[in-house]
Symmetry: C2
C-alpha cells in the first residue's frame, strides 16, 4: 500500500546496513550497451555475488522475463527469483530503500529515479521500468511504501549509521541533474524526514570520475555508529588525493547525531583502473547511453562493499592493494567472514558490489 505520510512522522528509520537483514535484493544484468559481450561476464560475477550472499541470508534476484530461464540455470537454488521489469541492474539505486520501526515493521521508500541525472547527465535513456521497480517490488513483497514523485535520489548516494546520522556528498545531491529546484537545506529536510536522521554530514566529493556524480557509497561508509572508512590514496598527483583529503578533513571535524567524534579508517584505493580496448569493443554503442571508451579511468574503490548477516562481501581488482584492503576489513569486522570477489566486470558497468545489492532489514512480524 502506498502511504501518504513520511517515515519520520510514522516512527520509521533506516537501520545501519550492519544490522540484521531478512534478506538481500539484486537485479539481473543484461543490457549490451552497459555490460560487455551481452553481459556474459557480468552475469557470471552477479551469480558469484548472489550465491555468496545466499550462503549467509536469503537473496532475491529480480529478472526481466526474457532472462528468467538463463538466470535460473546460473543461480544457485538458494536464490529466489522474481520476474520484474527493469532497465538495468543497480538495485542499490533502483530498488526501494527499506525503513523499519521499533515494532519491527518494515516499509519501503520509492524515490524518484532518473538514471543518475536524467536528460542532464544521466547514464542511459529511457529508464521507465527502473522508475517503476521499487513500487512494483514493494507491492509484490507486500511492503507498504512511501513514494516521492518529485524527489530524485538513489540509495547509493546515502549512508546511515542507524542512530540518526547520514553521510552524503554535495557533488551528487546538489548535482544539476537531480533536484536543481531545491536548496541544500530543503534536500537535507527530505533526508531527515525519510531516513529519519537528525544529522546529515555533507562531504564535498565522491570518487574521481564516478559517473554517479560521486555517490557516497563508493568513498565512505559506516562500519558501526561512530566509525567510518574512507577511500584513500597517498599519491598527491592523483586527482583523487584532494577529494579524499577533503573528506578526511570534514569527517574529522564533524560530530554525529549523538555528538560523537568519528573514528576514521583509511582504506587505500587500488591503483587507477582503466578500460581496455577489448573491454570497450565488447560494449554495444547505443544512443542515450554513456559510452565506455578505451583508456577511461574507472571509479574503483574497496569501500563499495556489502555487509550481510555474518559476512562482508568486498571487491577485488587483481591489484596488490586487494590483500591489505581485505586484511583491513577483517580487522574492522572481526565477527564477520570477509569474502573478496574479483569484480572488474561490475566496475566496467559503472559500480561495484554495494551498488548491485539492497538489504531488507529484519522484522519481527515477517
Amino acid at each position: 500500500m502506498k502511504l501518504l505520510s513520511n517515515p519520520q512522522s510514522d516512527g520509521f528509520y533506516m537501520p545501519g546496513e550492519y544490522e540484521p537483514h531478512q534478506g538481500t535484493v539484486m537485479i539481473w544484468p543484461q543490457r549490451p550497451d552497459i555490460w560487455r559481450n551481452r553481459a556474459k561476464e557480468a552475469q557470471e560475477v552477479f551469480t558469484v555475488v548472489a550465491n555468496t550472499i545466499a550462503e549467509h541470508e536469503p537473496v532475491t534476484m529480480l529478472v526481466n522475463h526474457d532472462m528468467y530461464d538463463r538466470a535460473q540455470r546460473m543461480l544457485s537454488d538458494r536464490v529466489q527469483m522474481i520476474p520484474i521489469a527493469n532497465n538495468d541492474a543497480w538495485c542499490r539505486d533502483i530498488g526501494p530503500t527499506y525503513v523499519r520501526n521499533s515494532g519491527g515493521i518494515v516499509r519501503g521508500i520509492d524515490w524518484k529515479f532518473n538514471a543518475w541525472g536524467g536528460t542532464k547527465d544521466g547514464l542511459y535513456y529511457p529508464w521507465e521500468e527502473d522508475s517503476r521497480l521499487a513500487k512494483n517490488l514493494c507491492e509484490q513483497q507486500k511492503f507498504d511504501y512511501y513514494s516521492l514523485e518529485e524527489f530524485v535520489l538513489e540509495g547509493g548516494s546515502i549512508h546511515v549509521d542507524g542512530e540518526g546520522t547520514a553521510i552524503v556528498t554535495k557533488e551528487c545531491l546538489l548535482s544539476k541533474g537531480r533536484n536543481p529546484q531545491l536548496k541544500k537545506e530543503e534536500i537535507e529536510g527530505v533526508l531527515k524526514s525519510y531516513l529519519n536522521v537528525s544529522k546529515v554530514i555533507w562531504l564535498e566529493y565522491g570518487i574521481f570520475q564516478d559517473e554517479t556524480n560521486g555517490h557516497v557509497d563508493n568513498i565512505c561508509c559506516f562500519v558501526k555508529p561512530g566509525v567510518v572508512v574512507l577511500s584513500w590514496t597517498e599519491d598527491s598527483k592523483d586527482p583523487q588525493y584532494e577529494r579524499s583529503l577533503s573528506g578526511y578533513e570534514i569527517l574529522s571535524t564533524e560530530r554525529d547525531a549523538k555528538g560523537r567524534k568519528l573514528t576514521i579508517h583509511k582504506l587505500h584505493l587500488p591503483k587507477p583502473q582503466y578500460i581496455s580496448k577489448e573491454e570497450s569493443e565488447g560494449i554495444v554503442k547505443a544512443e542515450g547511453t554513456k559510452q565506455r571508451k578505451e583508456g577511461d579511468r574507472m571509479a574503483a574503490s574497496y569501500v563499495n562493499y556489502y555487509v550481510c548477516n555474518g559476512a562482508v562481501i568486498m571487491p577485488g581488482f587483481h591489484d596488490p592493494m586487494d590483500q591489505p584492503a581485505r586484511v583491513k576489513l577483517k580487522e574492522l569486522y572481526p565477527d564477520r567472514e570477509v569474502i573478496q570477489i574479483y569484480t572488474r566486470e561490475i566496475l566496467l558497468g559503472g559500480g561495484n558490489i554495494h551498488c548491485i545489492t539492497q538489504q531488507i532489514p529484519n522484522s519481527n512480524e515477517r
Copy 2:
C-alpha cells in the same frame, strides 16, 4: 651439507601439507616467454598470494638479482627476500621438498629438474639455474639435503598424507621425458625411500592438457589422512570426464598405508578456460619455450590450492563454480580461513597457487 644416505634410512619423512609450517617459499616470476606483458600481471598476483600467506606464516621470496628492487617495492614488509638465480617461478617443482624426523629436524630433497620433460617435452630451455636452486636454497637456509642426480621429479607430481601414503599419476611419473630408464616399481622404490612412504597410489591421469604431464597436485590432494579431494566434472563430453572418473574408481578401491578406505570429495571444475588472443599476444615467443596460443585450453582446477597455517589459499577463475568450490573447501577445512584469489594470470603461466608455493615443515630446533 649434502647427505649421501636417504630420508627413510635416516628416519625422515615428508609431512602432510596441512601439518604446521615454519614458512613458505616462493619464486618471483619474470620471464616474458611464459608470463605475458613481461610478467606485469603475474608479479601482481604473486604479490597478492605472497602477502596473503604472510598474514599466516613467514614467506620467503626468491628473486633473480635484477628483480630485487622491483619485488621489494611490490611485496609487503612481511615477506623476506633472498636473491637466488632461477629460470622460472614454480617453487613447488623447482624448490626442495622438505622432510622432517621425529626430533623435529628438517632437511631438503634436491630432485633432478629438467623443466617438465627435458628435451623430450619440456616447457623451456635452458633450466640450469632452476636445477641448482634447491641445493642453493638449502645451503643458504642451512638445511642439510639429499641430492638425486639421476632421478627427475617435481614436487607437484607427488602428494603425501604424512602417514605413509603418497598419490601420484602414471601420466607424469612414467612419462618419456623424466625417467624412461626406470620401471614403475623402481620409481615407486625411490618414492618410498625419499618420501618415506609405504604405499603409493597410482592414478592414471592428471588434468586434461596439463602441460606438466598431469601433475597430481592439479587433480587430487589429501585434506587429511584418509580424506582426499578430486577434481570433477559431470560433463561426459569433456575429455576430463574419463580422467576424473578413472581417478575416482582407483581411489575408491585403494587403501592407504594404514589400511583405511579413502573418503573422496568431488571438487567440481570451473568451465573450460581458454587463452584469449590478447593474452597470447602478450607472451614473447622464444625458441625452446612451449608456445601459448589463442584458443588453447588451460588446465584450470580448484584442487591447485595451498594449505598454510590457519588458512587455505585457493584459486578463483571468475567462474560461477568459484563460489561452490570455496564453500566446499570451507566445509572440508572448518578450522581454517578459506581465501580465494583470482589467479587466471598464474593459470596462463601453466599452473596455480599450489605450483608456486612450497612449505617448510615446523621444526623443534629452529
